[in-house]
């Protein structure tokens, strides 16, 4: 197991109280697994990704353990995590295009980053150039300022720099969302290639676009309102989902070939609950067409088929 997360809870402090954005999630990622993490905005998917890297000011670690390659990560301790960030786990942030320091040339910025981790910049230059070439950037980029690069080039720079130390786990947060369909495809395929070449061992790919995950991910984890809804292989999630939320979500997505006059799709009525004071029991209850009395209790996230986990009383 590359990554094991046990009952992780991370809340946001607000004046009105704690927002329970990540409320007890437990799952594993195997070595070499690309796990897609899907869900609507506000479901806690980015909170999960960010909390593994760094807890920002308003995020509060409540409980739970994160184990990466048999080492427990001190995610509540910003300073201690410095020993792990970049080396053991790394992130490509949602706005990769604004992640670069505008006052430093790319080469110098990379050097500072490496030296802050006690590495010699020079030793990495050949490897850096090789990887830039792989994603189609010339080595001249090292001598350029971020402003001289286009958005897509900056994104590729961030991808290479984030993975330079061959981290065990890479978190890619919505990196394809702002791109055109064709560029999206190229970036998604690049992620898979990074794994094939061993630049990263396992990956969490966070996106709201489940069809991208079907193309690149081995497994898909669906979140809803701060809880896990379902995890299974990509094939299973798309073709035979068991949680009502996943089922309704998949059936609401238009595909090339599906037309309004031929097959009218429907969305899911209602909105996700506010996480400041989330309801007891299953959080999808109010929008779920199959809800019954049992749903007032919280459903456990259990394995219903080998490798297929879901949190729904109807499926247990």
């Amino acid at each position: 197991m590359s990554l094991q997360i046990e009952n992780l809870k991370v809340y946001y402090r607000t004046l009105a109280g704690d927002v329970q954005a990540l409320d007890g999630v437990t799952f594993d990622i195997a070595d070499g697994e690309i796990m897609g993490l899907a869900g609507e905005s506000g479901c806690g998917k980015s909170t999960l990704g960010n909390s593994l890297i760094s807890l920002t000011g308003r995020m509060r670690y409540v409980e739970g353990t994160v184990t990466l390659d048999s080492t427990e990560l001190p995610i509540w301790d910003f300073g201690d995590m410095n020993h792990h960030r970049f080396k053991d786990l790394s992130i490509i942030p949602q706005y990769a295009m604004s992640a670069l320091n505008p006052t430093r040339k790319i080469g110098r910025m990379t050097g500072e980053l490496l030296e802050s981790r006690g590495m010699k910049h020079k030793e990495f230059i050949p490897e850096l150039k090789r990887r830039f070439e792989l994603v189609g950037l010339s080595e001249d980029v090292l001598g350029m300022y971020p402003i001289e690069l286009s958005g897509g080039m900056k994104q590729r720079v961030v991808m290479v720099v984030s993975t330079l130390l061959d981290p065990s786990l890479l978190i890619a947060d919505e990196i394809t969302s702002a791109l055109d369909v064709s560029t999206q495809k190229a970036v998604a395929e690049m992620l898979v290639e990074f794994r094939e070449r061993g630049f990263v061992k396992s990956m969490i790919v966070i996106t709201h676009d489940i069809s991208i995950l079907y193309q690149v991910a081995d497994t898909i984890l669906v979140m809803y309102a701060g809880k896990l809804a379902e995890k299974a292989s990509a094939e299973t999630i798309i073709n035979s989902p068991r949680h009502p939320y996943t089922r309704l979500l998949i059936s609401s997505l238009p595909e090339v070939g599906v037309t309004y006059s031929g097959k009218r799709l429907t969305g899911i009525a209602g909105t996700p609950p506010a996480l400041l004071h989330p309801p007891e029991g299953c959080r999808f209850r109010d929008r779920c067409p199959f809800a019954y009395e049992k749903c007032l209790e919280e459903p456990p996230f259990v394995e219903v088929d080998p490798g297929h986990f879901t949190a729904c009383w109807k499926e247990i």
């Binding site: 994603v135 189609g136 395929e189 238009p254």
Partner: protein, 344 residues
Amino acid sequence: MSGHGNDSRGNGEAGLIKLENVSKIYSTGTFGGKAITAIRDVSFEVQPGEVMSVIGESGSGKSTIGKMILRLSPITQGVIRFGGTDISTLKRKALKEYRREVQGVFQDPFSSYNPIFKADRVFSMIKSEFFPGMSGPEWRNKIGLALEAVTLDPTQVLNKYPHQLSGGQLQRLLIARALLLDIQFLVADEIISMLDASTRIDVLNLLADLKGRGLGIMFITHDLSLGNYISEKTVILRRGLIVEMGATGKVFGNPTHPYTKMLLASVPQLHRKWEEIADELKVSETVLLDREAAAKKAYETVSEILAPDADDSVLVETEPDHLVRFSPEEAREIEPAALAGKTA
């Protein structure tokens, strides 16, 4: 909302909105010294009760067309007609009348509202601008009808601030705002790309229902599956040029231009992997992203990898209701007579 569709403007051969050889050149640079051609010689028309998808990647000029139709941006060359009238000649009163009938809804619902005011202020602004004489109860009734048309519950959305509403609700409020006017044509520019998957289909269905009332819609999107779902006609734009257009079923069912094929092969689909689609469409590897070669030239979008369409390329009708752009040589092989129908 009265008089939809059977208005004298909305009928006949003229079409509701008609673009005739429209071009748009933006001048940029310090003293406007550089010219960027955003739209080149675009012609199409939309009938009442019809949804036309305009599909393209960033920089293809799809939003520019919307802005020109809404009179938010002047037209460099060519004519846009609404019910036969050249819209660039409209002034003052006539322009206000035009705005009564042609409205737009844009991508980001959160930035379309002023966060300081309540969201329903967009309605009161319509009242003061267009219906100053209407009585309170009559106006409230009108709002009720418009909200009903977009399936919103008045108690949930009126008297609320934008941050209290979801993106889907805000977007539907903007459509309701347009419906308060005697709207006949709606420019919907990427209106659902910022919404969550579980609610976006509802907004899409809403648009499809509105066309049943005789509304003409221009649906601007980069997402082919959404365009395919809702529209009767599709226009594929690339660098300001129409490369393929016609009935949606034909454009998607029998994609002919390499760029259309490439787009279709890049859309992530739910039940088919990329490789299968590429095989099916017979998109060669050179057409698909040859990453290393492409990147050396710092291409941003794949549209730049395919050779650009030459200036003398022409749109040829390959089958009824299906036009594809070819170079003059290819066009001659396909259909010598088709050159007579050359647009331009």
